[in-house]
């Protein structure tokens, strides 16, 4: 199967799931990587080392910033001239929209968030979550090429083979821009939930620390949010020691404790860490669906009947404000940090 893999990056920083996609593509035969951007030789080099046999590269100042319409047009032109049967992408905010637009250009389809991709003859069967991960579907597409975005951490990352090279083919960038990028604000982001090997999450319970005295002059809601921020600080400290990301339940997000970008359990933020530590999260049905792919769940909750314990490997029935900092200290010591 003639397979292309799109390598997604942000300002030269490759989304790790791109290499997972390359590894999957390689399992179907010789694979070509696609790299768009400006001054991206180093990404092309890495693509060979992760297994690409050929790299199509559009290196142009018009592609310096990701603009979906320009990237989609460049991809559609490449696909039309090269006729791959399959184009794989990691699932990111960029690739969703880019693949969506190229699918329209190519009169084909895109299936997102694939957790399994099976090639049977000329058929490609894609397994993907629907209904917030409460169900899975197996879907096929009659379009050509088929565009598939892969869920991060659902496929193994290939070994990097230093010094491996291959053929570079230059591609012209399209310049049909309809949007202008005015700037970025990227300061506030830590480990992204989708890529995280470890996630420590907080729920509504993080605001319930009775021993805290909020500063004077706050109204009831402000005091609650102040308490929640103290609670999330404990969650964040544990995440930092474990090299992980901070997540949150919908209840915590809805209550205004933490930005929604930290929310686990709604579609799009279905996560697949090796370790998921739920602090003060009872385990609503969407949340449990969202963490189904986690290899191991640890639950810390004061309510022994909380549904989160039904999916947990280890549980502590207790006060998260005591257990979480103690666990941070214990882990710090054991990990030598």
């Amino acid at each position: 199967m003639k397979t292309f893999v799109y390598i997604d990056h942000f300002k030269g920083e490759v989304q790790p799931a791109s290499w997972e996609a390359l590894g999957l593509g390689k399992s179907f035969g010789p694979v070509s990587a696609i790299v768009f951007g400006s001054s991206i030789d180093v990404i092309a080099k890495a693509a060979f080392e992760y297994g690409a046999d050929e790299v199509f590269i559009a290196d142009d100042s018009a592609l310096k910033d990701f603009r979906v319409e320009v990237y989609a047009s460049t991809l559609s032109a490449l696909a039309s001239s090269q006729s791959p049967e399959l184009i794989l992408f990691p699932t990111t905010t960029r690739t969703r929209e880019m693949a969506a637009m190229s699918a329209i250009d190519l009169n084909s389809s895109v299936l997102t968030d694939a957790t399994a991709v099976e090639v049977k003859g000329d058929k490609v069967i894609v397994t993907r979550p629907i209904y917030e991960g409460k169900l899975f579907e197996k879907a096929t597409s009659s379009g050509k090429p088929q565009l598939i975005t892969l869920r991060g951490r659902a496929f193994p990352k290939p070994e990097r083979e230093a010094g491996r090279t291959g053929k570079i083919t230059k591609v012209d960038a399209k310049t049909d821009a309809l949007t202008t990028v005015e700037g970025y604000n990227v300061a506030e982001v830590g480990v992204s939930l989708g890529d995280a090997g470890v996630i420590v999450s907080g729920g509504r319970g993080v605001s319930n620390n009775p021993s805290l005295q909020p500063p004077a002059g706050l109204d009831e809601k402000q005091a609650e949010i102040w308490r929640a921020h103290q609670g999330f600080k404990l969650v964040g400290d544990l995440a930092t020691v474990l090299g992980g990301a901070v997540g949150a339940s919908r209840a915590a997000v809805d209550a205004g404790y933490i930005p929604y970008s930290n929310q686990v359990g709604q579609t799009g933020k279905v996560v697949a860490p090796d370790l998921y530590i739920a602090c003060g999260i009872s385990g609503a049905i969407q949340h449990l669906a969202g963490i189904r792919a986690a290899k191991m769940v640890v639950a810390i909750n004061k309510d022994a009947d909380a549904p989160i314990f039904k999916v947990a490997r280890f549980g502590v029935v207790g006060d998260l404000f005591q257990i979480v900092p103690a666990l941070t200290t214990a882990m710090k010591k054991k990990l030598g940090k």
Binding site: D105, Y131, K134, T179, Y260, T267, R292
Partner: protein
């Protein structure tokens, strides 16, 4: 300014969705406006209020989807249009985008189309970009903030790495994320108005198109595997002792 809010009707987020005999079942749970689309209606209403103009809620679906449109009307949308056609039973996303684009063209004179970031059912989040592509309009996805000024729209896109500020000329398509602001509750007056409102129903014939062929076929539905875990409750005399034991257990599982 003429603003369209595209919405869909889906089973409630709390529903226990299951595969039963190859069909999707959500038990007694109600069908509601897709929660992400409430943010789309909110975003559209905010733009109407900062400038002027009208908000039209647009939905592809069956007769029951009128309830989702009524919710948008109760929130403050000025009118509602349902695209309903017997030939639209197996709509994949690209087909849905082609139908929505045809409806937006028929409405005419549209400045801004607002989508929610994704639906709860399919969850792909690709219909907004596909609709923009069919229309040939700029797409500004995942907006946490929208500003319209002098024929331009500027949004703060919420992406993995933070925020990207992007600008385009109207007409344009945007999709919104939750940072746009909590959707307002329907007012009492709004609910009364919505109950009496006339919802226009258009067929594909009205749009002057035939049903776009589906490219994607769903071959199988599966319930997710049941997680076979028996929880081991860690207890002890002090938080420190519990934490010590728990840390050892976690490290022994080699997940770090």
């Amino acid at each position: 300014m003429k603003i369209i809010a595209c919405i869909k009707q889906v089973p409630d987020s709390e529903a226990k969705v299951k595969a039963e005999n190859g069909q999707i079942s959500w038990g007694e749970a109600p069908l509601v406006i897709n929660p992400f689309d409430e943010y789309a209606v909110e975003g559209a209403l905010q733009q109407k209020e900062t400038g002027s103009g009208t908000v039209t809620a647009l939905c592809v679906g069956g007769e029951s989807a009128k309830e989702a449109l009524k919710h948008a009307l109760a929130m403050g949308a000025d009118e509602a249009i349902l695209i309903s056609d017997a030939t639209l039973a197996n709509l994949d996303t690209q087909a849905a985008a082609r139908v929505l684009a045809a409806a937006i063209n028929k409405i005419g004179g549209v400045d801004l189309v607002v989508f929610g970031r994704q639906t709860l059912d399919n969850g792909a989040g690709i219909t907004p970009a596909q609709t923009a592509r069919v229309l040939g309009w700029p797409m500004l996805g995942l907006a946490g903030q929208i500003k319209v000024d002098a024929g331009n729209v500027q949004v703060e896109r919420v992406i993995e790495e933070g925020r990207q500020s992007v600008k385009a000329k109207l007409p344009a398509v945007v999709s919104v994320v939750q940072s746009i602001g909590e959707p307002r509750y329907p007012s009492f007056m709004g609910i009364r108005k919505a109950a009496k409102a006339e919802i226009a129903v258009w067929s594909l014939n009205d749009l002057g198109i035939s049903a776009p062929a589906a490219i994607v076929t769903r071959n199988e539905l599966m319930n997710p595997p049941v997680r076979e875990t028996v929880v081991e409750i860690i207890s002890g005399d002090s938080p420190e002792q519990i934490a010590e034991k728990l840390a050892e257990k976690i490290l022994a599982e080699k997940v770090l």
